[in-house]
Amino acid sequence: MQLPPFWTLVEAHGDELLVHARRVAGDQHAEDVLQDALLRALRAYPRLRHADHLRAWLYRVTTTAAIDAHRARRRELPTDEVPAAATHDRYDEGAFESLIAPLPDGARDALRLRFIDDLDYEGIADRLGISAVAARQRVSTAVRTLRERLAA
């Protein structure tokens, strides 16, 4: 197996990853989150066992970086709340699953198809038996809900 040169991925997907970072972390934190995500990805890159779904993997790493950044910011606030377990620094799907766990089934399915299976809206529409417009709406509503929860 040969992994493509890392920067080839960054040049191919960087723009959309920034859009994704804005969605999950908000405009204010998006660039820091993406920068952190790309360095995490670079660190983990040689240990990847296969070269499939690299784009989806970068989305997941970005999502995880956004979650961790959010937790770190919350820890900085004076609060007597015990910090939520900060153990989700792995790049596996566990972090993603725990992030989307509170959402309804339909929303979770749509997010998995979008960010784990890396499908476009037509692909998601096919799998869910809904229209592409509805698929896009379902993903964006789910992402917005997540963001509101993270910001809460």
Binding site: Q2, L3, P4, P5, F6, W7, T8, V10, E11, G14, D15, E16, L17, L18, V19, E31, L34, Q35, L38, L39, L42, R43, Y45, P46
Partner: protein, 193 residues
């Protein structure tokens, strides 16, 4: 879609280099002979690609040898860029830049290119036969020609300075026009006779 700010990419690349995470760094440079892709590893420049060569292919060649953690940065390669810019402006010889010939698998070819890099400076030319001799095997001029044809680091390893003994420019990986342009830039003869 808003494009990724170049400053963000530069900081990622700088942090990667600082933390020892980069197997190689590349930069794209505009020159009078077209755009060059310059790829540098820990030990020196490992590959120079002409603009006809797809970047992805050139970077993949390097990745296969040095590892896949390749990042792009103009800033991290400032010294290399400045040396090449100066060379194309007519000053100096970029062969002070360290090179890494690890993309050359065949030992004799590596000796040929090493010899060429160390011994044939700006403004000088050499024949394939004389180069083979300097590399230790006078009869291996064909191997010397092959070494040049497959030179992974053109310009820095100056295959444009190697000419056929029978006269004329001879072949060049980047095309004869580039060979002529580089020799003209150096004020060197364009034929060995």
């Amino acid at each position: 879609m808003t494009p990724l700010p170049p400053a963000l990419l530069e900081s990622v690349a700088s942090a990667a280099v600082r933390d020892g995470l980069a197997d190689a760094v590349f930069t794209r440079l505009s020159t009078p002979i077209g755009r060059l892709l310059v790829v540098q590893g820990d030990r020196g420049v490992v590959r120079v690609g002409f603009e006809e060569e797809p970047d992805d292919g050139v970077l993949a060649e390097v990745a296969a040898r040095l590892g896949p953690r390749i990042v792009g940065s103009d800033r991290e390669l400032t010294g290399t860029r400045d040396a090449l810019d100066a060379y194309f402006a007519g000053e100096g010889d970029p062969h002070e830049l360290p090179v890494d010939l690890s993309l050359v698998a065949a030992p004799f070819r590596r000796v040929v290119l090493d010899t060429l890099h160390d011994e044939v400076g700006r403004g000088q030319v050499v024949t394939y036969g004389a180069l083979a001799q300097r590399a230790g095997n006078a009869r291996a001029y064909r191997a010397a020609a092959t070494a040049c044809a497959r030179n992974p680091i053109p310009i820095l390893v100056p295959c444009h300075r190697v000419l056929p003994a029978g006269g004329g420019l001879g072949a060049y990986g980047g095309g004869p026009e580039r060979k002529r342009a580089l020799l003209a830039l150096e004020g060197a003869p364009t034929s060995a006779r």
